[in-house]
């Protein structure tokens, strides 16, 4: 199941989208999320959809892979679509089955909301699929830099995030090991009533937490010995490069926004 989920997964590649600076991608996606709400008629929604498809094509991520990975979301999407069909009662009746009446406005709203949802999910997925978690962290750190003025510990937050990301696989391995150790002692994690199964998780979590704290302590010592004294006076090994692609990306975004404003009702 974990293999199919594509949330937060990164697929290395060399496409145009992959090579964009994480800063421009982050700005783009966040602005896009806001701009999506400008659309309110067929032309504007079609424009958004077409644009999203273009981005997917440029990222060279197969559409099949994307849709397959987002299956749980698509179920939610179909569900919202039917809610709109069933409960919006405006405009002409398109279909009358006696117990069920489908109104024109309901169908329109259902499609619009679904497209909006789809476009948002696709765009954010493309962001995480084409940007490594560590670059996203770097991007966020640089973009949040102005907030240092209001005493937000930006550097510390970014370091926390990158260390958390780095330890995910380590702790996953550890969980696996503990699980096997407990299974070898006869604990059954996969059967029995829910209450029993929740109880069986406790002997898994306790050793995991104990070792995580131990790791944290070791890591803190190692960092201190290697001269870590907070963000002050630190240089950066990961350099972000803003080039013509990033400027182009933002120019395209501005054009798209202008078109949306022009065509909306």
């Amino acid at each position: 199941m974990m293999e199919k989920m594509i949330f937060g997964r990164y697929i290395p590649g060399e496409s145009f989208v992959h090579r964009l600076d994480p800063r421009s991608k982050l700005i783009f996606v966040f602005a896009f999320i806001l701009v999506v709400f400008l659309a309110n008629n067929i032309v504007t929604y079609a424009l958004l959809l077409a644009f999203t498809l273009l981005v997917i094509l440029m990222s060279r991520i197969r559409l099949y892979f994307l849709i397959n990975g987002l299956k749980p979301i698509i179920i939610l999407l179909v569900f919202t679509f039917f809610i709109h069909i069933l409960f919006t009662r405006e405009g002409d009746i398109l279909l009358d089955l006696g117990f069920l009446k489908v109104y024109e406005e309901g169908l329109r709203q259902g499609i619009f909301i679904s497209v909006r949802f789809l476009v948002l999910v696709f765009m954010t997925s493309i962001l995480t699929l084409t940007t490594s978690p560590i670059s996203i962290t770097d991007g966020i750190e640089v973009l949040l830099n102005p907030l240092k003025k209001i005493k937000l510990p930006v550097h510390e937050l970014a370091l926390m995030m990158s260390i958390a990301l780095r330890f995910i696989p380590t702790l996953m391995d550890e969980t696996d090991k503990i699980m096997k150790a407990q299974m070898a002692r006869g604990s059954d994690l996969s059967a029995g009533p829910l209450k029993e199964r929740i109880k069986a998780v406790v002997p898994l979590l306790v050793p995991l937490f104990v070792s995580a704290f131990k790791r944290a302590e070791d890591l803190a010592t190692a960092m201190e010995v290697r001269g870590y004294r907070g963000g002050e006076g630190r240089t950066r090994y990961r350099q972000l490069k803003w080039d013509w692609r990033d400027t182009l990306c933002l120019v395209v975004f501005v054009i798209m926004t202008a078109l949306l404003v022009f065509y909306r009702n």
Partner: protein, 281 residues
């Protein structure tokens, strides 16, 4: 010879309010000169790890003084001292800070504000020194234990340290990883004359050292060349240390009436003596 590190009558207790408990480190003195490899051996609780913490200023002694590069270690010069010391810890996973190999090597450089272009240079050259330059973008969970420890050594080397401390750096590795790490350290000593302080309870590792410090109950029990220390024989076993494999074999041979001359530190010496032993009859 330049002195790199010295302990002068250093004592330390984790419970200074309770004088009944014995000190973790009691009146220890020794010094390390440039280019030497010193091994500190001892069983668990003998004060080895406390000594490491005293060297890098994680703890300060209650009595005596620790001198690094001839300067007494104090709160003021702590960070300068640390930039002269490279450390490799026991658990390969818990000291890997960066997301990839090159980020981790750069971590200490970033901390001390080295400019970007020099940083790239130093990261590449120190990874080449430990032969990990083909793994620049690898993530830690795709590396073996020995490889991770070599990255940790590279991270220390990038700072051009005067002293490299191995704090049980091979104890969590498989035999292959252990050999990898020890070979790397030996090669570095030949190449750049690095000074090494290794804390270990692996006696085979201590054989590589120029001098061995044998710790027991927080005190320095003996100091000398590996052959001097291991000739203590049963005394070491009594304090919970194992003898090197070749020496244990020698003892068994002697017990069974095979005539052998003296001590044998390495398997090669033992084998040479074994096949010539018949001529001595």
């Amino acid at each position: 010879m330049t002195e790199i590190l010295s302990f002068n009558n250093v004592s330390f207790s984790y419970t200074p309010d309770n004088p009944e408990l014995r000190n973790a480190v009691q009146d220890v003195s020794f010094s390390i000169n440039e280019g030497e490899w010193i091994a500190i051996v001892g069983h668990n609780g003998s004060g080895k790890s406390t000594m490491v913490k005293l060297v890098c200023g994680l703890l300060f002694p209650q009595d005596g003084e620790v001198r690094v590069m001839r300067n007494v270690l104090t709160e003021e010069n702590l960070w300068e001292v640390r930039s002269n010391i490279g450390m490799v810890f026991q658990n390969p996973d818990n000291q890997f800070v960066g997301a990839t190999v090159q980020d981790d090597v750069a971590f200490a450089l970033e901390n001390s504000g080295v400019p970007y272009t020099e940083m790239v240079d130093r990261v590449h050259s120190s990874l080449a020194q430990v032969k990990m330059d083909k793994f620049l973008n690898h993530e830690p969970h795709h590396l073996s234990g020995g490889q991770k420890q070599r990255v940790a050594i590279a991270g220390a080397l990038a700072m051009r340290p005067k002293l490299l401390i191995l704090d049980e750096a091979t104890s969590m590795l498989d035999p292959q990883g252990r050999d990898e790490v020890l070979k790397t350290v030996r090669a570095l000593r030949e190449e750049i004359g690095l000074t090494v302080l290794s804390i270990t309870h692996d006696v085979e590792e201590a054989l590589f050292a120029d001098r061995v410090l044998f710790m027991n109950n927080g005190q320095k029990y003996a100091e000398g060349t590996p052959s001097e220390i291991f000739s203590l024989g049963d005394k070491l076993v009594e304090f919970g240390l194992e003898l090197p494999f070749a020496m244990r074999m020698t003892k068994l041979f002697k017990d069974n009436g095979v005539l052998l001359e003296g001590q044998h530190m390495s398997e090669e010496e033992l084998v040479n003596d074994l096949w010539t032993s018949n001529f001595n009859k």
